[in-house]
Amino acid sequence: MGWYVVKRLLQAIPLLIGIASITFFIVHLAPGDPMDVYLEERYRREVDPQVIELIRKKYGLDQPLPVQYVKWIGNLARGDLGESFRYRRPVASLIAERIPYTLQLTLLALLLDALVGISLGITSAVKQYSTTDKVVTLGSLVLYSIPGFWLAVMLVLVFSVNLGWLPTSQTRSLDYELLSTSGKIADRLGHLVLPVFVLGVASAAGTARYMRNQLLEVLSEEYVLAARARGLPETSVILKHALRNALIPIVTLYGLALPFLLGGAVLIEKVFAWPGMGLLAVEAIGARDYPIILATSMMAAVLVVLGNLLADIAYALVDPRVSFDATRKA
């Protein structure tokens, strides 16, 4: 398997270069002078044009585009993501700061998604055509259709504004420092409830539908009939024989969730003012903070590529019919 991973990573390099190039050119095609971002409009008039030129030079923005491009690729290879215009700090450190917050949300949401989604999907498939099935199917479709950000706002309305049970936003309360240790934990958890719930529930709905379909397909396979014909108890037939097959595509789906882990919570982070990667990216876009925009785009794309690799590896591990020698192409 080691060789397989190395081979895939090497194959991914031209892809990554392609991604980096596209990112670079798109961002630099955008209208507007970065200097307008770096210095707000009113300060520009006061600042000596020569100073502006010096700053431009510092960021290498006076160079022709191809030169900037090469420098950018070179920097990327070294892991240098540049410096944010707004924060005047290395982008890498900003990202490192924000990642844990996003991970808190997305990891917990994925857990919720897996637990609720898979079990509901199984129940629904096993009890096909029953009322439970119809409720779950329709319910998950409805939940899946509701825009996440609106659901979040409505839940805030009900649980924070009206009932006062949960906080409206942020990761912790204003008086956090004054709380006891257990109080601190409770506070953090309280702030996590709504965002994780909204994120998790929406994806759980999708997972439940998918799980149901997969399991139904497997249940119509001949080996399930054969298992019953051998006299195996129904629980065994479903949970051991059918499920093991039905879960295969689901597992690979979770491999593909890698990019979600770091960027999927953009809208939720906005609603709850959650200081994560998504919010960083959105604010950077609004403020034309190009270094951050470039860095987060690259990151997102790299994660998708890695996620695909992860999904393929997971597939090969979980399905004995797939070996690492045969290269799988979607």
């Binding site: 001949e222 080996y223 014909a229 006299g231 195996l232 093991r244 097959n245 019919r321």
Partner: protein
């Protein structure tokens, strides 16, 4: 009498109408004998097999009938009851080799599972018995194969593994649904040989479902001919092949190519096509394709009458001997 099927009817309730897959079928199988159930694809043979072990799923349902296994009605057993029968007293082999095998578990694992369930063997005992069973069904290097996954085996080997699974609990009846149809001709012969050997070893009865008359001639003592969900002829194999009575049976036998037949002899098929199950004509369903049918055949489906010792035929035009 080991198995006695009495007036079995299994219908499928579709939105387009009621499909009478099995309609009033009755037959018997004695111990240690092979009975063949023949008919074209889609005539309901497989549903008979599934009905016997009560594995017909929605929208199908067994609407009437009794199935007596050693005198006990197994259709109306309580929930856990039929599960005791499946695999233990009645084994099943399906058509697609290896489609009965779960692709993500090894052969050995699937065998062990059944052995531990039906015979209460320990894990170690089950492992050994699994290897023994694989060897008995003619799989070379059984220890190695036991650790293999189904996709690593050839079609013939997979079918042997499926047979091993089916006979693991030494059932009294083995239902084999087209066990050789999807295999190469040479492998077919081996599998049939295997079935005969196992039958001899374990004194099993076999219900052999097939559309291949050659297989019937080789294996079965009795033949049941089925058409559109009903039995139209029942006879001993040699009698049936020598003098088929029902026009449909005659058509089937005529359609078989004979080795040595001259090039000038035309290929005989049966005229017409199988009628739509949802729109069966009233009366005999073979009308329109039958060379001897007339207006008397249009009111009601002919009953299965005993026309000679051990022979029954469902045709108004056939007289008894």
């Amino acid at each position: 009498m080991l198995l006695s099927v009495q007036n079995l009817s299994t219908y499928f309730f579709l939105e387009e109408g009621v499909l009478r897959a099995v309609d009033g079928v009755s037959f018997e199988i004695a111990e240690n004998e092979t009975v063949a159930l023949v008919g074209e694809s889609g005539c309901g043979k497989t549903i008979v097999a599934l009905s016997i072990v009560n594995l017909v799923s929605a929208p199908g349902r067994i609407v009437q009938g009794k199935i007596l296994l050693n005198g006990e009605d197994i259709l109306n057993l309580p929930a856990g009851g039929i599960r005791q029968i499946r695999g233990r007293q009645i084994g099943m082999v399906f058509q697609e080799p290896g489609a009965a095998l779960n692709p993500v578990y090894t052969i050995g694992y699937q065998l062990r599972e059944v052995l531990q369930l039906h015979q209460g063997l320990s894990r170690r005992e089950a492992e050994r018995e699994a290897v023994r069973l694989l060897a008995e069904t003619g799989i070379a290097e059984p220890e190695r194969r036991a650790k293999a996954y189904p996709f690593e085996l050839s079609g013939g080997m997979r079918q042997r593994a499926v047979i091993a699974l089916a006979i693991s609990a030494r059932p009294k009846l083995l239902i084999a649904d087209e066990p050789t149809t999807a295999l190469d001709v040479t492998v077919q012969a081996e599998i049939l040989e295997l079935l005969r050997y196992l039958q001899d070893q374990y004194k099993m009865a076999i219900l052999l479902i097939t559309h291949d008359l050659g297989v019937v001639a080789e294996m079965a003592q009795h033949v049941l001919v089925m058409y559109t969900g009903k039995l139209v002829e029942m006879a001993r194999t040699d009698a049936l092949f020598r003098i088929p009575k029902h026009p449909y049976t005659q058509g089937l036998l005529n359609a078989v190519l004979r080795l040595g037949a001259g090039q000038k002899e035309p290929l005989c098929g049966i005229a017409g096509a199988v009628p739509d199950f949802l729109n069966l004509p009233s009366g005999c369903t073979f009308q329109g394709r039958c060379p001897i049918g007339d207006s008397t055949c249009t009111t009601e489906f002919p009953p299965l009458r005993e026309i000679a010792a051990g022979r029954r035929c469902a045709c108004y035009k056939v007289q008894g001997d």
